[in-house]
Each structure stands twice: as structure tokens, then as C-alpha cells.
Amino acid sequence: MWKKLLTQRPNGVARPYPLMVWMLLGAALLALVMLSSLLIGAGDISPAAAWQALLGQGHEEANFVIRELRAPRTLLGLITGAALGCAGALMQTLARNPLAEPGLLGVSAGSAFAVTVALLLGASSTTLSVYVAQAGALAGCLIVLSAARLNGVGNDPIRLVLAGATLSSLLLALTSLLLMFDQRTADEIRFWITGSVAGRDLATLKELLPSLALAAVLTLLIIRPLAALALGETMATNLGHKPGRIRFVAVIVVALLVGAATAMAGPIIFVGLVVPFIARTLVGADIRRYLWLCLVIGPIILISADTFSRIIVAPAELPLGVLTAMIGAPVLLAVVRANRLPRL
């Protein structure tokens, strides 16, 4: 069976390997990455000691670090990466723009802004509802997509990104401004606001599960019409779909996912851009195929970035958001500088 799966099809075939092969490879890689995230850290627990702890034979300190710090962190990375990767894929399909990405377009920034406002109004970061983050993401998403529908912007990927970058920097500036007035809040969320999966407890994750489940169900319901939307609005209508309704549901899903990711890990940029890009390259531009792959590639990238962030300036840690920005910026530049953008 393996031989059959791996055999290349005749000349000019777009996808030499089927989705299933990439999913299996991705899952294997993800398992490896998660394991290294458990074994490697900025502290003075050696990977060998961590391995012992994983097998249940470690000493107390190692056990604590693995179970209470690294395991939740890895789990949050898994969920955040998957959510951001899928949200990026959905936004790119919605906007028919390969540069659409929650981080770049101000969706994450909207979410972060909403959370900051809620904190200033007296909520505490431990009791803060994720719905605030999701409402902020929804607002950001609606603002930037309506800007993209304005005359002349809709067909130009770069201009949508400009509109999004403007919204994004405006919201992040406002967030910083608000934090200047309130030292308590600023201290509480300093690490979170730059993007980090460290130090969050699993209670947040539990709170998120219902909305993540809802996002998954909604995605399954609209995935086929959404694929048809890639052929244009007229074609989607012709095939019996209702483009307005599909868009609406997709925006809700993006808000649920980005809000959840931001509530967990703060505004993280570029993951939503890079992940769908890789997935499309591997299995083609049909969202019914590449969305599955985003589910695996997102966590791979996020967890490995998080693991790197622990070791490059050890014993200190680099915030994850800083690292993804440092990796993502050259990627974006390369994409923009390429002779032509891929058409979605």
C-alpha cells in the first residue's frame, strides 16, 4: 500500500503525494516536536532527567517541571497552533487573498485590545472570559473585511494587508496606551501581550473547549460551500450555495478560533500566514484538503518556535510572539517580493 501511495502520477500532475501521506508524516513530526518540547527547556533539568520524569521515574523537581509547566505549555501550543493555522486558511479563502492572516489583519490585535479593555475595567486575567477575546476578534475581522470590500481594495492583496496592518498597529498602539495608565494590568499581561504559551494554566483551555468544538462543527458544515467560494461568488451561487451565509459563518469561525488562540497565547502573528502557505504547497489549493494539513502543521510550527524560544537566550526566555515575528517577517517579505502572488 505504501508503494502505491508514494508512486508518482504521470507528468504534469499537481500533487505527487496524496493528503494521507502528508497527514501521517505531519503527525509523526508533530509527535517528535511535542516530545522535544517536553524534554527541552531553559531550566536546569537535563533532557535525560526529563525523559526519566516522563517515564515516571524522575525526581520531584523534574516531575513538577514536566507535569505542571511543560505539559500544559505543549498542550496550549498544540491548540493555539491548530487554531491559528485553520483561522489563517479560512481568512485567506474568505478574502481570496494569500496574505490574509489574523495577525497581520488586526484580528488578533482586536482580540488583544478587547482583553486589555476588559482587564482595565476590573476583570482579572484568571477570571477573564474568553468570549471577550472572541468578541474582539469578531470586531477586528468585520472591520478589516469590510475595508477589503471597499471599491478598489478587494482585488489587490497588498492593499488588504495595508488596511489590516493599519488597523493592527492602531489597535496595538491603543492597547499600549491603555496599559500605560494601569501598572497592575501591564505587569499582569506583559508576557501575554507579546504572545506566549508559557505560564498559562489549563483552566483557560477547559473554558475554551466548547467554543473550539463549535468552531469545528461549523467548519465541517461550511467546508464544501467554502471550497466552492474559491471559484467566485457567482459560481458558488450557481452550485446552490448562499455566499453571504457562508461568509458570515466563516467569519464567526475565524473569530472563535482567533479569540481562543489570543486568550491562550496573546496576539501571535505570521503563524496564520505561513501554515496555510505550506499546506497549499503540499496538497493543492482546495481548502477541503489543505485545512486538514493546517491542523497538523500549525502546532508543529508553534510548538517548535516555543521550544526554540526557550533555548536561544537560555536561561532566559524569548517571548514566542517575538520569535514568530522574527521568523515570519522575512517569509512575508519573500512572498511579497516574489514576482507574483499565488491566486486563490
Binding site: G12, A14, R224, L231, L239, H241, K242
Partner: protein, 275 residues
């Protein structure tokens, strides 16, 4: 190009029953601006109807309104006697396929990927790809002479092949009605003939086709029924032989010409065209 003698899709199922499409006192347009007003048209069943007329006369608006992409500003479009906008969109999609003028597909999409989209109106969100879907898609590919090219990327095909792929998708939709907006624009002569012959072959299995065509000569040659539009109104309709006269050509395009039958096929030809 394979000429199709037997029905393309009817391997196990009988060809879909013909459906009727009718515009009744139709008014349509964009925003505040009415392009068409008080238009009545009934598409002759199982024939190719060509809609011709000068730029901006409302041909595409008419086609898009008939295909329920645009909502009428007045009057009705009746699909089998029922208001098309009152019917569930999916039900309409099982009876009527529309191919718009400017089509774009995501990069890297293959011919097969595209044609498979044609089956969407026949699927439920939970249902898997069926053997019937598979058979119809392959039959549509065969009809459009694309079997060998089915795994190729659309971007890497010639304009004619790409257009045939879009038409194959419309065929795979397996509808009794087919609306095509300028299916041969931007194609060279050889590719135009290829596409027109494919369209002609569709009526042989009971499909009713309406197409907007820019070229009057091709319209006369490949259509059974000609609808001439000017300023949002139908000014003549009938078989090309009945309708196509020097007077009509002058009224439509303000050019003088003479009409004579093609010595071989007998379809009307325009000669001695001048301003």
C-alpha cells in the same frame, strides 16, 4: 472533438427531463439603473438559443437574471412555472447550470478538481463521493474530450482546453438547463469551433442551452434559435434563417451588409459589411 451521438451522461439513468425557463415581464439591472425592462422570453426546449446584441444591450444581465444570480427588479423568472427566487437555491442548481464570463480558479487546481465541483448540488453535507458522481464526472470529461488532461493544472492548459474544463463542470452538474455567458470570448477560431461543437452536442441529450454570443456569424451557425437584443429589449427572435436580415444587422450594430445563405450549410452569412 468527438461528436456525441449517444447521450453523454445516460449510462444508467435516463437523461434528465427537460425543464422550462421563462422570463415574464422581466425588469433587471444593477443598483438604481434598469438595464432590461418588460422583457418576455421562453427558451425553446432542447435547443441552443443564442442571445446577440451590441455591447451594453443587457445580454449578460438577462443571462444572470435568468440564472438567478441577479434578483429581478420587476417581473419573474419562472423555472418549470415556479418563481426561481422562491425555490431553494440547491433545487435550482439541480436544474440549471450557469457559466459566467469571467471565471477564475485557485492556482494549482486540476481539471478533475474543477469538474468535481459540478456534483455539489447533488450532494448533502454529510454524504461521500458516490459511484454515480464518479461516473458522471468521467462522462463529462469524456464529452469535453478532457480524459487525458484530467490531472493537469488548469493554469497550464490552453484557453480552449480551460474553457472546455469549465463547460465540463457545467455538464457534470447534470442539469437540463445550461446558461453560458460568452463561452468563446478570447478563444481563437479553432478553439471557438471546438467549444461550439461541444455545446451543440449537448442538445442531443435533451439539454436546453442559452448562450450570450458576441459573434453574429457563430450565433447563426451554432444556434437553433436567435434572440436579438437592443437597449434592454428583444427586437427579434426566431430561427437564424427567419431572423437574420440586413435590416436587423443595421438596427443592432449600425453597419450595412447583405445576408446570403452559406453555399454548403445554408446558414445565413453576412457579406459586404461596411459602415
Amino acid at each position: 472533438m468527438n461528436t456525441v451521438e449517444k447521450p453523454i451522461l445516460a449510462a444508467s439513468t435516463p437523461p434528465s427531463a427537460p425543464a422550462s425557463l421563462r422570463a415574464k415581464e422581466l425588469a433587471a439591472g444593477h443598483q438604481q439603473h434598469l438595464v432590461i425592462e418588460g422583457l418576455n422570453l421562453s427558451l425553446p426546449k432542447q435547443q441552443v438559443t443564442a442571445i446577440v446584441g451590441p455591447n451594453g444591450c443587457g445580454k449578460s444581465t438577462l443571462l444572470n437574471t435568468l440564472g438567478r444570480i441577479l434578483a429581478p427588479k420587476g417581473g419573474q423568472v419562472l423555472l418549470d412555472g415556479k418563481d426561481i427566487h422562491a425555490l431553494p437555491s440547491k433545487q435550482v442548481a439541480q436544474k440549471l447550470a450557469l457559466l459566467p464570463q469571467d471565471t477564475t480558479a485557485p492556482e494549482g487546481m486540476t481539471v478533475l478538481d474543477l469538474v468535481r465541483f459540478g456534483r455539489q448540488p447533488h450532494q448533502q453535507w454529510y454524504s461521500q463521493w458516490s459511484a454515480e458522481d464518479q461516473r458522471i464526472v468521467q462522462a463529462a470529461l469524456r464529452a469535453a474530450n478532457l480524459l487525458e488532461l484530467q490531472h493537469r493544472e488548469l493554469d497550464k492548459l490552453s484557453g480552449g482546453q480551460r474553457q472546455r474544463a469549465w463547460i465540463a463542470m457545467a455538464i457534470a452538474q447534470d442539469t437540463p438547463l445550461l446558461l453560458l455567458d460568452e463561452p468563446t470570448s478570447a478563444l481563437d477560431l479553432g478553439h471557438q469551433i471546438e467549444v461550439f461543437e461541444l455545446i451543440q452536442s449537448l442538445t442531443q441529450e435533451g439539454k436546453t442551452v442559452a448562450m450570450v454570443v458576441h459573434d453574429l456569424l457563430n450565433a447563426a451557425r451554432y444556434a437553433d434559435y436567435l434572440v436579438a437584443m437592443k437597449a434592454g429589449k428583444i427586437i427579434a427572435e426566431g430561427t437564424p434563417q427567419e431572423v437574420l436580415t440586413a435590416e436587423l444587422v443595421y438596427e443592432l450594430y449600425q453597419v450595412h451588409c447583405q445576408v446570403m445563405p452559406d453555399p454548403i450549410s445554408g446558414v445565413p452569412l453576412l457579406v459586404n459589411i461596411r459602415r
